[in-house]
């Protein structure tokens, strides 16, 4: 390995780790499940590294990564759309384009979630975290909580809604002097 390649790789890792969360959230907004987002993200990471040589130092890594991710997601939607219900390509494209403008706000919302999450009382918070474990089986978590699967989904939906309300309120409060 040449020193130049080593340096390039280190530079990539630095940028990638900084922006990974934004890119992952970007992908997540365009596909139906978190597992789908993980699959797409795996491809996105590899393509980003392969094409990193053409990325100009000093350019906006996040914007560049969003562009790569958008291309990968659209390909995935086209592929999976044949036998699964997914977003229309046109809709996905619009959401992806709007992400550039929305990302600062969305990123603040992701940060604010944590401040709202601590206000969720136990045992609800643990239940929510258990449901969001990468290897979680919803049937098991639902059963453990004494709910039916549809009932549990309903509860998850209500929690997300409550958290989003809290996020809006928190950010509005923090923005005012």
């Amino acid at each position: 390995m040449s020193p130049a390649e080593t340096k390039l790789h280190c530079r990539f890792l630095r940028l990638f780790t900084t922006h990974e969360e934004s890119v992952r959230a970007f992908v997540r907004r365009l596909v139906p499940t978190r597992a789908d987002a993980d699959d797409v993200m795996q491809e996105v990471s590899i393509v980003l590294w392969k094409k990193f040589g053409s990325f100009h130092e000093g350019a906006d890594f996040r914007a560049w990564a969003f562009g790569v991710a958008r291309f990968e997601v659209l390909g995935w939607l086209r592929d999976k759309g044949r036998d699964r219900l997914v977003l229309d390509e046109g809709v996905a494209l619009k959401i992806a384009q709007e992400a550039e403008v929305l990302e600062p706000a969305l990123s603040r919302q992701r940060e604010a979630l944590e401040r709202c999450l601590v206000r969720v009382p136990e045992p609800q918070r643990s239940l929510l975290m258990r449901a969001y474990q990468p290897e979680a089986r919803i049937q098991e978590v639902a059963a453990a909580s004494g709910r039916s699967v549809p009932g549990f989904y309903q509860w998850l939906h209500r929690m997300r809604k409550t958290l989003l309300d809290c996020i809006h309120a928190t950010l509005a409060r923090e923005a005012s002097p």
Partner: protein, 483 residues
């Protein structure tokens, strides 16, 4: 969100939407930017929840369960292995396991051993001090009580606690996120303090840090400090010594390993049975009124009052009815800075001719100790510049370290003997020596604003007899948190 959209969105997320529902959802999203925005926000919450869940542990007290490699990561970690020799270990470290930092040293933390790796999990430290190195080489020390979580190797969320960071060029951009603002390091050394109540502070020891609070962006340079508030920034005095750095963690770890905490407890237990004991303040049971912060003392999870603002103080009443012909005062103190001319260790209220013998114990403008008793005079020819008994050795080199300060007063022998870290320092001789009087008093302040103490006081001993030099030495050796 209207009811239909909400229901469809929910079904889409559950995987229970049907073809007709999906096409209606697509149509609604295609038609309206505001709808798309709300849809994106819900999915964004989903992402954020998944991130939070990565660091979540079912048992807050359980030892770290190493999580299985996240779904699908292993495959592309291998894709990197062929990439670059020097970066391989680094890449595997970050990518195969998402380790953001490695624990280098701990003082008093049970469930984190040196060498263990930190990922995105939320961590709570009840007591102790943790030294770690991020994947990019930033050295970070976190002092309990603390709650923190790495979001990446370059981004650390600090909900509570005190942190110092030394950031090499490779980790430039290392960011600390606090509840009231964000600090981005542009190289070298800084500290962040997130107290239990109040705004987070950023202190720059060397280099440059960008502080972002409530859309207010400020560049801080060496020696600058700010509190990040919801209204922007407020200037603060730099307290670089208030932050534990990695070399001190090493000494604290060695002290604990040598059993110092138990020795200290045994020595305190013995003192509590001393017939001449007036007060032994260990600050553990709460108590004490005044204005101060409660932070960690010398031992993991122990408590000490910390004095930061002008006027911060701790009030106590030591009983004014007695006179003490002999008096020993001793304390473990951690001074953050020595800018105020006088730093109050123990000041009885007032300074009246009608109350001869009242005690004022402080660090003076020469950064030596002073024990002033109202109405006392020094023996003729004494060298002390202000005509008060002063010690000789400055405490300056001990700033930012726990130091043991002691003084023994004997009105019958007419002597005041000073001790620094258990060692005899100097003796002042008095011409007039009243028995000592105590009564209502303050630690960290007097009823004037020039007696500010900057720092922490652990353990304070007030004893109505003269200890021997050997006793002072033993007191220091038993209570020393370092090795």
């Amino acid at each position: 969100m209207n009811a239909d959209l909400e229901l469809l969105g929910q079904r889409y997320l559950d995987g229970s939407v049907d073809a007709e529902g999906m096409s209606r959802l697509n149509a609604m999203l295609a038609a309206d930017a505001d709808t798309r925005r709300r849809f994106a926000e819900v999915l964004n919450v989903d992402s954020a929840l998944a991130t939070q869940a990565m660091g979540w542990r079912a048992e807050p007290t359980a030892t770290l369960r190493l999580r299985a490699t996240a779904r699908g990561r292993t495959g592309w970690a291998t894709a990197f292995i062929g990439a670059a020799a020097a970066c391989i270990a680094f890449a595997i470290w970050i990518f195969s396991s998402r380790d953001f930092a490695r624990v280098e040293n701990v003082a008093g933390i049970q469930d984190l051993a040196p060498g263990s790796h930190l990922r995105g999990e939320r961590r709570e430290l009840q007591g102790g001090t943790l030294a770690l190195v991020t994947a990019h080489g930033a050295r970070v020390v976190i002092e309990a009580p603390a709650v923190f979580q790495f979001e990446s190797a370059q981004r650390l969320r600090l909900m509570r606690g005190r942190l110092s960071a030394e950031v090499p060029p490779a980790a430039k951009g290392f960011t600390v996120v606090t509840p009231s603002g964000v600090a981005v390091d542009l190289g070298t050394r800084f500290g962040v303090d997130v107290p239990a109540a109040g705004d987070a502070e950023v202190h720059v020891f060397a280099g440059e840090v960008i502080a972002l609070a409530s859309h207010d962006r400020r560049s801080l340079r060496t020696g600058d400090a700010v509190a990040m508030t919801t209204a922007g920034h407020a200037a603060r005095q730099t307290r670089s010594a208030a932050f534990i750095q990695s070399d001190e963690v090493t000494d604290l770890t060695a002290g604990l390993a040598a059993g110092q905490r138990a020795r200290s407890a045994a020595a305190l237990a013995q003192l509590r049975n001393d017939a001449a004991l007036i007060a032994l303040l260990d600050f553990e049971t709460g108590g004490g009124t005044g204005a101060f912060r409660t932070v960690q003392g010398r031992w993991p999870g122990s408590h000490a009052p910390e004095f930061v603002e002008v006027g911060d103080h701790l009030k106590l009443d030591l009983g004014g009815e007695h006179s003490w012909p002999r008096l020993t005062l001793a304390a473990w103190v951690r001074l953050d800075r020595l800018d105020a001319p006088y730093q109050s260790l123990l000041h009885t209220d007032g300074w009246a001719a009608s109350n001869p013998g009242q005690v004022h114990w402080m660090v003076n403008r020469f950064s030596t100790m002073r024990l002033a008793l109202k109405g006392n005079t020094l023996a003729a020819g004494s060298p002390e510049p202000d005509s008060f008994p002063d010690s000789r050795t400055p405490v300056l080199p001990e700033v930012g370290r726990w130091v043991h300060l002691a003084v023994i007063y004997d009105s019958e022998a007419r002597t005041t003997r000073f001790f620094l870290n258990g060692r005899f320092d100097s003796e002042s001789r008095e011409a007039t020596a009243h028995p000592a009087r105590l009564g209502p008093a303050q630690i960290g302040n007097w009823n004037r604003t020039d007696r500010k103490l900057s720092g922490r006081v652990d353990e304070m001993l007030i004893l109505g007899r003269a200890m021997t030099d050997a006793e002072i030495r033993a007191l220091f050796e038993a209570g020393n948190p370092y090795r």
